[in-house]
Symmetry: C2
Subunit: 360 residues, 2 copies
């Protein structure tokens, strides 16, 4: 029996894609081999990787002039790789600080000797909101501007794309990518760990504007050198083949469901249902400002926090798993990525109602 | 129908492990979730990673005083990560140059500002042998000595562990690990991409002596900082969970077959059969010095090189796949990693005999 899995990542994946992966795990494309066993340089896998990239370009409507890279090391790896590729030591960069992930990105940029200006720090709200769209000033001399459109831990999401003029905008879209249409042309660089909406952990996707290639510092690790990786079609070294394959299956699922517009409708419906329930409740609440609420990660608190453990345990028993809040936040968190159906959110709401009735 | 897959990596995996992975791909441990969908911080997965490490320690007989790290970025990533973790810029290091992989490691070390001395360069043999065990001098001031016990492309393998005195020995064991018992205590650091004997690409295992931790340069990417990763049990960021899981399954298979001693017997028998056949043949030959031949990768040439394409095509049709030689070497190459049974090597020999009869 499949459960409704509310994990923040690695997260629930579309069962249709998992079923395909399962059915062909020991015999891929009638090759007598698993996709796990084929050389990344074999015709079959090269075609698979090319198809995955083509599907990503199609589904995300990625314009000409952008390169797609399949890398390793996760978004955390990119916290270091982006400074190394885009800047010289001492360069000025602007960062939004809206929670734990953007804070980690800032620390890594500083460790790579960047002169970081925090253009907006939402400490005053305890990171429960985003800055106003006109509430910050970008330095036109900055090498780039970095933000985290969705803070997975806080459940805080930008409802707008920051205006940065001519300064390239860099976004950690780990918890945003594929959740809705994204105007890629507004970005200099988008990066995302796969383990939310794209597939298994261990694959990191980078979408980078071509003019940002070719500026890597000496000593930039070759596996993260965007120019070198672009020239090698992401196969300068052995890529995470299973992740690329599974991303392809998941992109087919997205496409079959109607693409990112359909995905946005689906995700908005789920989020509306859950936030609507929380806002109408006297027992549960979500701490995030209404205009900054995440479609993907919904933290919530109950009036009696002593019952958090019981809530999570009973939910698990009811087939609603991984609802514990992040250890730094407490309470509960429902991550409702693409693969979570509306029925899962409704089941959660039903459980919450029942739990409140029994304990509230 | 399963084929005999002679790919150099990603390579053939034990069907027993693949069958387990397939059977539980949509429902792991009766959780109602795939192992691909569970948080790396969940109880289930933390236990899985701990069990994988414990099995690796048991199977490899890793002594106390060594840490096991599950990283990303492959062995190529470690070409950069090792200098960053073990040395300051300008440090002296000694390298063996025995083929393409050690050459790449040297270039990366130089890019990380190391003062590289090549203590043995087998260019004179066109990289078809290893240096004599007393044919080199280690600088006692070197920060470490690096070698590649098995050069996957050339099919060249050290039959001994180089004596380096007090200088830590660092080894790229991507094509060696798990193939036989290894005296880990002789090494300062062992690293290996998983996609030969350990599992899927995207996982890199590092086994490092504890005194080598804690010396990372400022700016070392956090996902490669050995000390930080050791403290975080390899979960400073989201690890490649599926790779760790599959490595666990493969280690169980190794253990069930009798461990690394049994694996060595199996591998030696396969290599002996194939080299014996090649040496007895007037039509085929292996170009590597007898004392330097790899158990894992067996390149071979036929008298009429014009027939190489036909050989590979007909072999593929006969269920013997991925026998094309590396593009830099030509000819053929049979990679016979742990998962390849003796029957596969015998089938190859039978095919070679038949091919010679028809064409020789």
């Amino acid at each position: 029996m499949r459960v409704y899995n509310f994990s923040a990542g690695p997260a629930m994946l579309p069962i249709d894609a998992l079923n395909v992966a399962q059915s062909e795990l020991t015999d891929w494309q009638s090759s007598g081999m698993s996709v796990l066993e084929v050389s990344h340089r074999s015709k079959g896998f090269v075609a698979c990787a090319a198809e995955t990239e083509a599907l990503l370009r199609q589904v995300m409507n990625i314009p000409e002039g952008y390169r797609v890279l399949f890398l390793q090391g996760g978004a955390t790896g990119q916290f270091d790789a982006i400074p190394l590729n885009l800047t010289a030591p001492g360069a000025k960069v602007d960062f939004f600080k809206t929670g734990q992930w953007s804070t980690k990105a800032i620390k890594a940029a500083q460790a790579q000797q960047l002169d970081v200006t925090v253009v907006a720090d939402r400490a005053e709200s305890n990171y429960t909101d985003t800055p106003a769209a006109d509430g910050f000033t970008i330095d036109s001399d900055a090498a780039y501007v970095h933000y985290t459109p969705n803070e997975t831990i806080g459940g805080v999401e930008f409802s707008y794309i920051p205006q940065t003029g001519e300064v390239p905008l860099v976004a950690d879209m780990s918890s945003t990518i594929l959740s809705r249409p994204i105007d890629v042309s507004r970005y200099g660089l988008i990066y995302a760990g796969a383990q939310k909406n794209m597939g298994p952990s261990g694959l990191c996707v980078v979408i980078v504007r071509e003019d940002l290639l070719g500026h890597a510092r000496p000593g930039t690790p070759s596996i993260w050198n965007y120019q070198a990786m672009a020239e090698a079609d992401s196969m300068l070294n052995t890529p995470p083949t299973f992740g690329i394959y599974l991303l392809g299956l998941i992109l087919k699922w997205v496409k079959d469901l109607g693409g990112l517009s359909a995905m946005a409708e689906r995700n908005q419906a789920k989020a509306s249902a859950l936030y609507g329930y929380l806002d109408a409740s006297d027992y549960y609440r979500n701490p995030v400002a209404i205009d900054s609420r995440s479609w993907m990660n919904v933290p919530f608190l109950q009036a009696n926090a002593d019952l958090d453990k019981a809530f999570v345990e009973q939910a698990t028993a009811a087939g609603l798993t991984n609802l514990g809040g992040h250890r730094s936040v407490g309470g509960m968190r429902a991550s409702i990525y693409n693969a979570m159906p509306l029925e899962g959110v409704q089941a959660l709401i039903d459980f919450m109602t029942d739990f409140e009735t029994r304990n509230g």
